[in-house]
């Protein structure tokens, strides 16, 4: 392995100072579960790694704010979300999703911020967080800003973050009155990278569906919202005909890509089947109380 500099700042502000706006070989490392694989594979050779291991504990916490939003520090391990009563009551679909996200060893180490910043389209949480309307707090040399999780992903392994910006927290707005579900199709073991991930969040408006959010991932280059399928559901009662129309609309608009988990055509059919299943699953879930 090529030698590199390792720095361990004690604050996120200090960490930002150790990053470089111009040099892609300077990277931040949190849990390291993804970055270390890239380094072992020889496709990333850092000159400097900025470890967040010693950064303030306030970035490893889960809170509910006065608006009922979940505020999760970027350095919170995924397993902490999985076991959190706050997450379970405010966004139960997140807990459900985490059960089959990789394995427990990875979830104990991988962080929320790293999971998002890695921008591998096979990640499970991004499509769900987009469907839930989540935002991220971002810290950089010129201060702090926020962005919708949906705006974060620019392509394969690429985000809209500048090289010297870091995710500081994740904010999931109150899901009161919403139903949500995430389903994935894996072609090997249950905790494998998915061939397709589908997240659905629905608002109740009397007997009809109000706002619908449908986001897919893994089969696409980045998490992708399916607006035509959302439109089919909006204002409709959920019956078999509506479900079929939404599934067909999803399959028609999804731009799927082939990989070792399946051809583009196979994944398009997966979209048709799994979007319908995910809508049904979301509808079967109880409405979030918090």
């Amino acid at each position: 392995m090529t030698p590199f500099e390792l720095v361990e700042p004690h604050s996120l502000r200090e960490a930002v100072g150790a990053l470089s706006a111009d040099d892609p070989s300077v990277r931040v490392v949190a849990g390291g579960t993804a970055l270390m694989l890239m380094m072992k594979a020889g496709v990333f050779k850092p000159t400097r790694l900025v470890s967040l291991r010693a950064v303030e504990a306030k970035f490893r916490r889960i809170e509910i704010d006065s608006d009922g939003a979940l505020r999760i520090g970027a350095l919170t391990p995924l397993s902490m979300l999985e076991r959190s009563p706050e997450v379970k009551s405010h966004a139960p679909a997140v807990v459900h999703t985490l059960k089959t996200l990789s394995n427990v060893r990875v979830r104990n180490v991988a962080t929320v911020g790293g999971h998002l910043a890695h921008a591998d389209p096979h990640m499970d949480l991004p499509p769900l967080l987009i469907a839930l309307g989540a935002r991220v707090g971002i810290i950089g040399p010129s201060g702090e800003r926020t962005a919708a999780v949906e705006e974060l992903f620019a392509g394969y392994y690429e985000t809209s973050l500048a090289r010297d910006e870091l995710i500081s927290e994740l904010v999931v707005p109150s899901q009161k009155g919403r139903r949500a579900a995430y389903l994935k199709c894996t072609t090997r073991s249950a905790d494998d990278w998915p061939a397709l991930g589908v997240a659905v969040a629905l608002n109740d408006e009397g007997p009809a569906i109000g706002k619908a959010d449908i986001v897919i991932s893994a089969a696409t280059e980045k998490p992708t919202r399916l607006v035509d399928a959302e439109r089919v559901l909006q204002g409709k009662r959920l019956d078999e005909a509506t479900l079929r129309r939404a599934a067909d609309a999803a399959a028609a608009e999804a731009v799927t890509v082939a990989d070792v988990r399946g051809s583009a055509a196979y994944k398009r059919e997966l979209v048709r089947v799994y979007v319908a299943r995910a809508i049904r699953r979301a509808f079967e879930q109880g409405v979030a109380r918090a």
């Binding site: 892609p24 990277r27 594979a41 496709v43 921008a119 392509g155 394969y156 392994y157 990989d259």
Partner: protein
């Protein structure tokens, strides 16, 4: 995994064919190709480097020209060994040229197989880069066709 597409460039088909067939010119047009060595008239070796986000994929490639029908068709086989990643790249490419009267349409079809860890990691990455590479190839080829001489081969891959 199959990539195909077409680009239209200025110039008569024969002139475009000669440029595309010339290994040095072709290599110059593909971003990330370096260290081109001619083994004989039909065999070449080179390195190919492509970057995506902060990741860098490097290959040693061997190219064998299988069929040349001037000014219509070139077929080639490419065998690549990634540097640092376990796996192998095998590809066959077919390039056809169509005369549009002052312009030439180049159609290409590449069938790529990636094995080993490279297969799971590199296949979607390669696909996501393919359109970018096509765009830059077309731009570079247009430059070649309108420039009096070819510049030195680039040494650094561009994203």
């Amino acid at each position: 995994m199959k990539f195909d597409g077409e680009i239209t460039v200025p110039g008569r088909r024969e002139a475009v064919f000669d440029k595309v067939q010339d290994a040095r010119t072709f290599a110059w047009c593909v971003d990330g190709v370096g260290d081109l060595t001619e083994v004989d008239g039909a065999h070449y070796t080179a390195t190919l480097e492509t970057k995506i986000a902060y990741l860098r994929f490097r290959f040693k490639v061997a190219v064998e020209v299988l069929r040349v029908e001037r000014p219509n068709l070139i077929e080639a086989r490419i065998e690549g060994t990634p540097i640092g990643v376990v796996g192998r790249l095998s590809a066959t490419s077919t390039t056809t040229l169509e005369d549009l009267g002052g312009e030439t349409r180049i159609r290409y079809a590449v069938e790529v197989a990636l094995t080993g860890k490279l297969g799971s990691m590199g296949q979607p990455v390669l696909r996501s880069k393919a359109k970018d590479m096509e765009k830059s190839f077309a731009a570079n080829l247009r430059r070649v066709l309108t420039a009096p001489a070819i510049e030195a081969a680039p040494t650094e891959a561009t994203t």
